[in-house]
C-alpha cells in the first residue's frame, strides 16, 4: 500500500466553448480506495471517459506505474489493467451468466471455435469463490441487481484489472448488499488493486475511502487523506458554499387524515397494508429493496391492480384504477424510475412538465399555449430548474434538474397528496437539498407527502412518521421520538414486528 499506481497530470479537456476539465492533478495509490466527489457536472464522468479512452484529453498525461500511457479506446484501457463498473450496468439480460461473464473475450481454440468447457469451468469457479448460488446457464435477468453487480466486479477482476473504477456502485442495491460490496472492495485492496470510487453517498465514501479528491467545475479543489476530512468540509468543498442544514425540515401544523389505505393486498407482492397520511405531514416508507414499498404505492396510485382493500380520501372510498383516476382525486406519484416511468426523453421540458395537467391547458377545443408556457415557467422558476430554454429536450438535463421538472409536472396538477418514490435517487448533494426544500414547501401548503426512500438519514431528517415494510407487510410505524437507523433496520429486517 502506498505506491502510486496511476497519476493524472495536468489533464485538460475543452468542448467547443466550454472548458470541461482544467489542470486535473491527482494520484491513486495501490491498494487504496480513492473517492472522487463532486456535484453532477463537476467533470467526474468526463475525466473517467478520458481514463477509459472514450475521450481524448487536450493536454496532460496519464501515468501508470510511472510510465506515460496513451489510452485511445476502452480495449487499450483494459490492456493497461483499467476496468470500469459503470453506474448503468452493462449486461445482456437474455444471455446466461457464463456468456455475460465472458462477453467480448470468449476463449477460442485455434480454429476459432469457442472453448465452452473452459468457460463453464471458470464460471463455476468464480461463482463458488463468490458464493453466488447461480447456475452458469441461468439467464442474467433472473439474478438480483446486486448479484449482477457482483458479476460485473468479478468480470473486472478476471480481466486482471489493476485499477477498478466504480461509478455510483450502490445506487440500486440494499444496505446489506452494500456490505457485501464493501467486503469485496476490501479483498481487492488487499490484492493491491487501486480503486477509484465515485459516489454521492457521503457516509459510504467515509466508510471506505482512503483518499478523497473533490472536483468542482472541472477543477480539483483538493485531495486529502479521508481521516483528515469530515462530512461538512467535503460537502462545502463540493458545492463551494456551506449548506446551512442538510435537511431543511420545518414544523408544520398537522391536520386531519387525508388519505387512508385499508387492508391492501396483492398476491405475492404485499398483504394487509394499512396506513394513512395527514395534512401537512411527511410520512416515510422505509424497508429493504423488495419489501413491497414501491408496489404498494404504484397500486395506490392506480398503476397496478390490487386484489383487496380500499383507498379513502377525506374519509370517502375512491375507485382508482389508473394514474388518470389518481390525478382526478388529487393524488399523484413521482416514480422511482425516472428513466422508465418519468421522463419522455425526446420531448421538451415544457411538454414533460405539462403532461399530467393537459386538461388545464387544452380545453374548449383549443390549446392555451400562452397559459401553459406561463404556468410551467413559473413552476420552473419556483423550483429553480436550470435549462437553456423551455424547448430543451429533457434528456439533456442533469438528473437533479430532470427530477425537478418531474416534480413540476406533479405540482402543476395541484395535488393534495404526493407520493414521492426515491425522490433524490442519483442526484447530487446540491440538488438533493433543493428537493428537500421543495418537499418542505409542499407540506407548508397543507398537502400531504408520502416519501419512499432507501436512504435512512433522509427519512429521519425529513419525516414526521415512518412506516417500515418487511416482506410485503407493514412491520411497524414509528414516530419522531423513536427515529433511529437501528430501530428502522430492526423492523426492516424482521427482527422487530409490531403489526
Amino acid at each position: 500500500m502506498g505506491d502510486v499506481k496511476m497519476r493524472i497530470s495536468g489533464v485538460e479537456k475543452s468542448f467547443p466553448g466550454v472548458k470541461a476539465l482544467s489542470n486535473i492533478e491527482f494520484s491513486v495509490r495501490k491498494g487504496t480506495v480513492h473517492a472522487l466527489c463532486g456535484e453532477n457536472g463537476a467533470g467526474k464522468s468526463t475525466l473517467m471517459k478520458i481514463i477509459m479512452g472514450l475521450y481524448k484529453a487536450d493536454k496532460g498525461q496519464i501515468y501508470i506505474d510511472d510510465q506515460p500511457v496513451d489510452i485511445r479506446n476502452p480495449i487499450q484501457a483494459r490492456e493497461y489493467g483499467i476496468s470500469m463498473i459503470a453506474q448503468e450496468l452493462n449486461y445482456v439480460p437474455e444471455l446466461s451468466v457464463e456468456e455475460n461473464l465472458f462477453l467480448g473475450r470468449l476463449p477460442v481454440n485455434r480454429f476459432g471455435k469457442i472453448d465452452w468447457k473452459k468457460v463453464r469451468r471458470e464460471t463455476i469457479r468464480f461463482l463458488e469463490e463468490e458464493k453466488l448460488p447461480y447456475e452458469p446457464t441461468q439467464k442474467l435477468k433472473t439474478l438480483t441487481v446486486s448479484d449482477i453487480q457482483m458479476l460485473e466486479i468479478i468480470k473486472a477482476v478476471t480481466n486482471n484489472a489493476q485499477i477498478v473504477i466504480m461509478d455510483e456502485p450502490t445506487s440500486s442495491i440494499t444496505e446489506r448488499e452494500v456490505k457485501q460490496l464493501f467486503a469485496k472492495i476490501a479483498e481487492l485492496k488487499a490484492k493491491g488493486v487501486a480503486i477509484v470510487y465515485i459516489s454521492h453517498k457521503m457516509d459510504e465514501v467515509f466508510q471506505i475511502a482512503d483518499d478523497i479528491t473533490v472536483l468542482r467545475d472541472g477543477t480539483v479543489v483538493s485531495t486529502d487523506r479521508a481521516q483528515d476530512l469530515d462530512l461538512d468540509t467535503v460537502i462545502a468543498k463540493m458545492v463551494g458554499r456551506k449548506l446551512s442544514n442538510v435537511y431543511p425540515k420545518e414544523e408544520v401544523p398537522i391536520g386531519e387524515k387525508v388519505i387512508e389505505v385499508e387492508d391492501f393486498s396483492q398476491d405475492g407482492l404485499f398483504e394487509d397494508v394499512n396506513f394513512y397520511a395527514r395534512k401537512g405531514e411527511i410520512v416515510g416508507f422505509a424497508g429493504l429493496v423488495g419489501a413491497g414499498r414501491t408496489e404498494v404505492m404504484r397500486t395506490v396510485f392506480g398503476l397496478d391492480p390490487h386484489k383487496t382493500g380500499t383507498v379513502k380520501i377525506h374519509g370517502k372510498p375512491v375507485e382508482i384504477k389508473s394514474a388518470g383516476d389518481g390525478i382526478k382525486n388529487r393524488l399523484v406519484m413521482l416514480s422511482e424510475s425516472r428513466r422508465d416511468d418519468g421522463i419522455v426523453p425526446v420531448r421538451s421540458i415544457q411538454e414533460n412538465a405539462s403532461l399530467a395537467s393537459l386538461r388545464q391547458y387544452i380545453y374548449g377545443g383549443y390549446t392555451h399555449k400562452a397559459k401553459e408556457k406561463k404556468e410551467v415557467k413559473e413552476m420552473f422558476e419556483k423550483m429553480n430548474v436550470k435549462a437553456p430554454s423551455m424547448d430543451t429536450e429533457i434528456s439533456k438535463l442533469s438528473g437533479g434538474n430532470q427530477q425537478k421538472v418531474l416534480l413540476a409536472r406533479w405540482m402543476l396538477c395541484d395535488p393534495e397528496i404526493m407520493i414521492l418514490d426515491e425522490p433524490t435517487r442519483g442526484i447530487d448533494v446540491g440538488a438533493k437539498y433543493e428537493i428537500y426544500k421543495l418537499i418542505t414547501d409542499i407540506v407548508k401548503e397543507n398537502k400531504s407527502v408520502i416519501m419512499v426512500s432507501s436512504e435512512l438519514p433522509e427519512l429521519i431528517g425529513m419525516c414526521d412518521r415512518i412506516y417500515i415494510m418487511c416482506q410485503g407487510r407493514i412491520a411497524g410505524c414509528i414516530t419522531k421520538e423513536e427515529f433511529s437507523q437501528e430501530t428502522i433496520m430492526r423492523y426492516a429486517t424482521g427482527v422487530a414486528d409490531r403489526a
Binding site: 468542448f15 467547443p16 466553448g17 466550454v18 470541461a20 457536472g41 467545475d217 398503476l303 389508473s322 394514474a323 388518470g324 389518481g326 390525478i327 406519484m333 416514480s335 422508465d340 416511468d341 418519468g342 421522463i343 419522455v344 426523453p345 425526446v346 420531448r347 411538454e351 403532461l355 399530467a356 393537459l358 386538461r359 387544452i362 377545443g365 383549443y366 390549446t367 436550470k386 435549462a387 437553456p388 430543451t392 429536450e393 434528456s395 439533456k396 438535463l397 442533469s398 409536472r409
Partner: protein, 326 residues
C-alpha cells in the same frame, strides 16, 4: 448568433431541401414549372399524403401500419361496388370509411389489447385484407365507374377535388396533432409509453383512436385511388404503405417515436413527388427510379440520426454554460 442560425437551419432543413429541389427541378426540366405539371404532381400525391398522415400519427406514438395497401384496395373496391349497385356517392363513402375503420379496429385490438407488435399485427392484416378483396372480386377488376371518378379526377373551378380534400384533411390532422390532448398524448406515448401512462394518459384509448383516424384516411384514399384509375382494382395499391412511410420518414418523423410534424410530412411527400416527377420528365428508367427512392429513405434517416447526435452535443454545451453562470 451562429448557434441560432444553425438551429433554424436544423429546424427547417426539410423545407430547405424541398425548396432547393424545387429550384433544381425547374432548372433541369423546362416542363416542371408548367402549371399543368404542378397540378398533376399534386393530384398524384393526394393518395400518398393521406396515407402518410396515418403512418405519421402511428409512428409518432411508436406504432405503424403495414396493411395500408391491402386495406385501401378492399375499402376502395367495396366502395366502388356499392356505388355501382346503388348509384349513391354517400353510400360509397360510408362503405369505404367503415371497411377501412373496421380493419384498423382489428389492428388496434391486437396491438392495444393483446400487445402484439404493430409490425406483426398489421402484417397479418395486409394478407387478410388482400385475400378478402381478391375473394370478393374473384381477382377481376371492376370497370366503368361513371360518376364515381369525380372524387379523383373532378375539379371545383380550377382546383382538383382531391387537392381540396387534402387541404381539408391537412387542417383536421394538424389540429388533431397540435391542439388536442390526444395529440399531446401521441408524442408522450411514442417518447415513453410507461411514462405517459404514469402521467395519466390512457394509451389503449390513444391506440384505438390512432388506428381509427388511420382507417378514415385510408378509406378516403381508397376512393380517390380507384376513381383516379377509373376502376376497382383488387390488385391495386400494393406496397402503398411504403409510400406513406417514406414520406413520413423523409419528413422527419422519427421511427423511435415521439417526433414528427404535419408540415414535415407534407414536405416529405412533396420531396418524393417532385423527385418522381422530374425523373419521369427526364425519362429516367422506372426501375432505376425505384433504386433511387430506396436510397433516399436510408439517406434521410441517416442524415436525421447524425444531425440529431450533433445537436444533442451542442445542447449539452449550452446547458453547461448556463449552469456556470448560475
Amino acid at each position: 448568433m451562429g448557434g441560432k442560425t444553425s438551429y433554424y437551419l436544423q429546424k427547417f432543413s426539410i423545407f430547405i431541401v424541398l425548396i432547393v429541389l424545387f429550384i433544381g427541378c425547374s432548372i433541369i426540366s423546362p416542363y416542371f414549372l408548367q402549371s399543368s405539371n404542378l397540378v398533376n404532381v399534386t393530384r398524384q400525391l393526394c393518395v400518398g399524403i393521406l396515407v402518410a398522415y396515418g403512418e405519421m400519427i402511428l409512428i409518432i406514438s411508436g406504432f405503424l401500419d403495414l396493411s395500408v395497401g391491402s386495406v385501401l384496395a378492399l375499402a376502395g373496391v367495396l366502395s366502388v361496388a356499392t356505388y355501382k349497385s346503388t348509384g349513391s356517392m354517400i353510400a360509397a363513402l360510408v362503405v369505404a370509411l367503415a371497411v377501412a375503420v373496421i380493419c384498423n379496429l382489428v389492428n388496434a385490438l391486437f396491438v392495444a389489447n393483446f400487445n402484439v407488435p404493430a409490425f406483426i399485427a398489421t402484417l397479418g392484416m395486409q394478407q387478410v385484407a388482400r385475400g378478402l378483396v381478391l375473394y370478393y372480386t374473384g381477382g377481376q377488376n371492376i370497370l366503368q365507374l361513371g360518376g364515381f371518378v369525380e372524387i379523383g379526377q373532378g375539379s371545383i373551378g380550377p382546383v382538383p377535388i382531391p387537392v381540396l380534400l387534402i387541404v381539408l384533411v391537412t387542417i383536421v390532422i394538424w389540429y388533431l396533432v397540435n391542439n388536442t390532448r390526444y395529440g399531446r398524448g401521441l408524442y408522450a406515448i411514442g417518447g415513453s409509453r410507461s411514462a405517459a401512462e404514469a402521467s395519466g394518459i390512457n394509451s389503449k384509448k390513444s391506440i384505438y383512436r390512432s388506428y381509427i383516424v388511420n382507417g378514415l384516411l385510408i378509406g378516403l384514399a381508397g376512393m380517390i385511388f380507384m376513381a383516379r384509375n377509373n376502376a376497382g382494382l383488387p390488385n391495386g395499391a400494393v406496397g402503398l404503405e411504403m409510400t406513406g412511410l417514406t414520406a413520413a420518414i423523409v419528413g422527419g418523423t422519427s421511427f423511435t417515436g415521439g417526433i414528427g410534424t404535419v408540415s414535415g410530412t407534407i414536405a416529405g411527400a412533396f420531396i418524393i413527388g417532385f423527385l418522381e416527377n422530374v425523373m419521369n420528365l427526364l425519362g429516367v428508367n422506372a426501375y432505376i427510379q425505384q433504386v433511387i427512392e430506396g436510397a433516399i429513405i436510408v439517406l434521410a434517416v441517416a442524415f436525421d440520426v447524425v444531425s440529431k447526435s450533433k445537436k444533442s452535443q451542442k445542447v449539452i454545451l449550452v446547458k453547461e454554460k448556463t449552469e456556470e453562470k448560475a
